[in-house]
C-alpha cells in the first residue's frame, strides 16, 4: 500500500519513529553503553515521546514541513546530549527544504534527506568514516538521490535511503571513532556499531514504512 508523502504521511512517520525508538530503547542504550555513556536510547525515547505528546495534544500541523519543524523544536528542547541538537537540526533543515508543499515528490524527498544530512555535518563537523550518524545519513542521501534521478517513486526513494542507512550503520562496526563520545575510547571503539547511526537507520526506515515502502 503505497502512500503519498503528504502531511498524514509525515505524522505517520513521526509516530512510527516514536514506536520503533521505544521498541529499541534498550538496544540503543546498550550500544551507547559499550562505547559511550548509555543514554542514547533513553534520550531519543524521551524526545520522541514528547513529540508524540505534542502531536496528540495540539492542532495537526498543516504541511509536512510544519510537522517536521515541530519535531525539530521538540527534540531540541527535550533530548539534550549530542543527539538532541543534531537531530533537531536535521529535522529543521528537512522542514526548511520542503517549503510549504502539501506533498513531497521524489526529488523533494531526496533533497529533504540531503538537507538533514548536511545540517548534521554543519553542526557536528564529522566526516564519513568518523563512526557517527553521518555514516548512515551520507549513504542514505546518496542512494536517495540516485533513486530519485533514476525516476523512482517517492516511497522508493525513502526505501532506498532506509536500506542504505541500515547498511551504513552496520558498516560503522569496525571503525575507530573520531568524533563524539566514542572517540575517547580510541581503538577500543572498534567492534561496535555506532548508536546514532543505528537510530538514523530506524528513523529512515520509519519514514519508508509510513509511505508503505518495503525495506529489504
Amino acid at each position: 500500500m503505497v502512500q503519498p508523502l503528504d502531511t498524514a504521511w509525515a505524522v505517520r512517520w513521526i509516530r512510527e519513529t516514536a514506536r520503533v525508538v521505544a521498541e529499541n530503547r534498550a538496544l540503543l542504550i546498550d550500544l551507547d553503553r559499550v562505547i559511550g555513556d548509555a543514554d542514547h536510547g533513553e534520550n531519543l525515547d524521551r524526545g520522541f515521546s514528547a513529540v508524540v505528546a505534542k502531536l496528540d495534544a495540539g492542532d495537526a500541523p498543516g504541511t509536512p514541513a510544519a510537522v517536521l519543524k515541530q519535531v525539530a523544536m521538540t527534540l531540541m528542547s527535550t533530548v539534550g546530549g549530542a543527539a538532541g541538537p543534531l537531530y533537531g537540526t536535521a529535522f529543521l533543515r528537512a522542514a526548511t527544504s520542503l517549503g510549504d508543499a502539501g506533498e513531497v515528490d521524489a526529488a523533494a524527498a531526496a533533497a529533504m534527506i540531503r538537507a538533514a544530512r548536511d545540517g548534521i555535518v554543519a553542526r557536528g563537523k564529522a566526516e564519513v568514516g568518523d563512526k557517527t550518524m553521518v555514516d548512515a545519513w551520507t549513504p542514505a542521501t546518496e542512494s536517495a538521490e540516485t533513486a530519485a534521478s533514476a525516476g523512482a517513486t517517492p516511497p522508493e526513494v525513502l526505501a532506498a535511503a532506509a536500506n542504505a542507512a541500515h547498511a551504513g550503520a552496520v558498516a560503522t562496526e569496525p571503525l575507530i571513532a573520531r568524533k563524539g563520545r566514542a572517540s575517547y575510547l580510541g581503538e577500543r571503539s572498534a567492534g561496535h556499531q555506532d548508536p546514532g547511526a543505528v537510530s538514523t537507520a530506524l528513523i529512515l526506515q520509519a519514514a519508508s514504512e509510513a509511505a508503505g515502502g518495503e525495506v529489504a
Binding site: 553503553r33 555513556d37 543514554d39 524521551r46 531540541m76 528542547s77 546530549g81 563524539g180 563520545r181
Partner: protein, 333 residues
C-alpha cells in the same frame, strides 16, 4: 541495580528538589525548565556565571551555585547535556547587565546545546561569552577528534571565574581568567569499578577483580586502557605522570591540586592518593599551594579517583582564597 531512588526517570528532578530544600538559604530551584540559580540572582552589575551539563556528577554543578562561584547551574538528564530551553532562561535569570559567561565542558552535546543557547540568549539581548574546559590528558587532543574532555578542571574554572566576577571584573576579564585556568589545568582519572546509569540498569562496563581502567571520564565510559590492579602509590604515579608531562611541571612551579573521588570511594583512600601526590610533587620541587580532597565531580557511585593539577600564579591564588559560599565549597563567608 540497587539505588536509593524512586522512578529512574525522576532521579534528577527529585534530587534537585531535595537539594533546593536543603539549601534554600543559598539557591532557588526553577523546576520547568529545570535550572538552579543563586537565591539573590541576578546580582546587578556583576557578570553572571552559568555552567551545566549532564547530571550524575554531583556536587558539580548545582553544589557550586552561590557567592563567589556560579550564578546558575543547568542540570541535564543523567550523563546528558541540558537543552537550550533550560540554558536560555538560566542565562537571562542571572544577567545583571554585565553579561554572562558560559562554562562548558568539552563534549559534543554540551558544546552544541550551549552554543545554540548562547546564540538565542544573545538574540534576546544578553551578552554571552563561553569558555570550553578540556583538561583530560587521557584523551588525545587533535583536530581530527572531538578534543580533550572537560573533567575535574571545571571545578577550578568555576571557582576562579566566579571569584573574578564577584570581584567586579567585566565579562572579558572574567572570560580571560577562566581561559587562563583552562590553559593551565590538566586531569587524569582511574576507575576500580564502574557505575550504573539509572535508566540503563546495568554497570557501564565490567572489570574483573584484578583489573582497573586508566584514563576514564566522568560518564561511566571505559578508559583508555585496562591494566592489572596496582597499589595506590603505583596508580597515583600513573595519574600524575601524564599531567606533569603535559603541563611541563618543573621545579619552582606552584600548583593547586585536587584529588577527587568518583562517588564510591571513601575519603580515607583519597587521602592515601593525596599523600603520594604530595610526595611526588615535592620530589619534583613543585609546591602545592592549595588542595581539595573529596568528591567534587563524580560519576554516580563509580569507584575510583581523579587527579587535577592547575599551575597557579598569585592572581589565581588570590581569587581562589576569596570568599565562596556554596553547598559544596565554602570559606571566608
Amino acid at each position: 541495580m540497587k539505588k536509593l531512588i524512586n522512578d529512574p526517570r525522576a532521579v534528577v528532578d527529585e534530587s534537585v528538589e531535595g537539594f533546593g530544600i536543603a539549601h534554600a538559604d543559598l539557591v532557588a530551584v526553577h523546576p520547568d525548565p529545570l535550572f538552579i540559580t543563586r537565591r539573590d540572582a541576578p546580582v546587578q552589575g556583576k557578570v553572571g556565571i552559568v555552567s551545566g551539563g549532564g547530571s550524575g556528577h554531583e556536587p558539580l554543578h548545582a553544589g557550586f551555585v552561590g557567592r563567589g562561584m556560579l550564578d546558575a547551574a543547568v542540570p541535564g538528564a543523567v550523563f546528558t547535556s541540558p537543552t537550550p530551553d533550560q540554558i536560555i532562561p538560566a542565562t537571562s535569570a542571572v544577567d545583571g547587565g554585565a553579561g554572562v559567561l558560559h562554562i562548558v565542558k568539552n563534549y559534543t552535546g554540551d558544546v552544541l546545546n550551549f552554543e545554540t543557547a548562547a546564540e538565542m540568549a544573545e538574540a534576546d539581548g544578553v551578552t554571552v561569552r563561553s569558555v570550553l574546559v578540556d583538561d583530560d590528558v587521557a584523551v588525545e587532543d587533535s583536530l581530527y577528534t572531538a578534543g580533550r574532555r572537560g573533567v575535574g578542571g571545571t571545578v577550578f574554572v568555576e571557582r576562579i571565574a566566579g571569584a573574578a566576577a564577584e570581584r567586579g571584573d567585566d565579562l572579558d576579564g572574567v572570560a580571560d581568567v577562566a581561559q587562563r585556568v583552562v590553559d593551565g589545568v590538566r586531569s587524569m582519572g582511574v576507575a576500580l569499578a564502574a557505575c550504573t546509569v539509572p535508566h540503563a540498569g546495568v554497570p557501564s562496563f565490567d572489570l574483573a577483580e584484578d583489573e582497573i581502567e586508566i584514563g576514564i571520564g566522568i560518564h561511566g565510559e571505559p578508559g583508555r586502557h585496562r591494566i592489572a590492579m596496582e597499589d595506590a602509590d603505583g596508580i597515583t604515579q600513573r595519574l600524575l605522570d601524564p599531567i606533569v608531562a603535559d603541563l611541563r611541571l618543573a621545579s619552582g612551579d606552584r600548583t593547586l591540586v585536587m584529588v577527587n573521588g568518583m562517588g564510591g570511594t571513601p575519603a580515607s583512600e583519597l587521602y592515601i592518593v593525596f599523600r603520594k601526590v604530595a610526595q611526588l610533587l615535592d620530589g619534583l620541587g613543585v609546591t602545592i599551594e592549595r588542595s581539595l580532597v573529596g568528591n567534587y565531580i563524580t560519576a554516580l557511585e563509580m569507584q575510583g579517583a581523579s587527579l587535577t593539577i592547575l599551575r597557579v600564579d598569585d592572581e589565581m591564588l588570590e581569587l581562589w582564597d576569596s570568599p565562596v559560599h556554596t553547598a559544596a565549597l565554602r570559606w571566608g563567608a
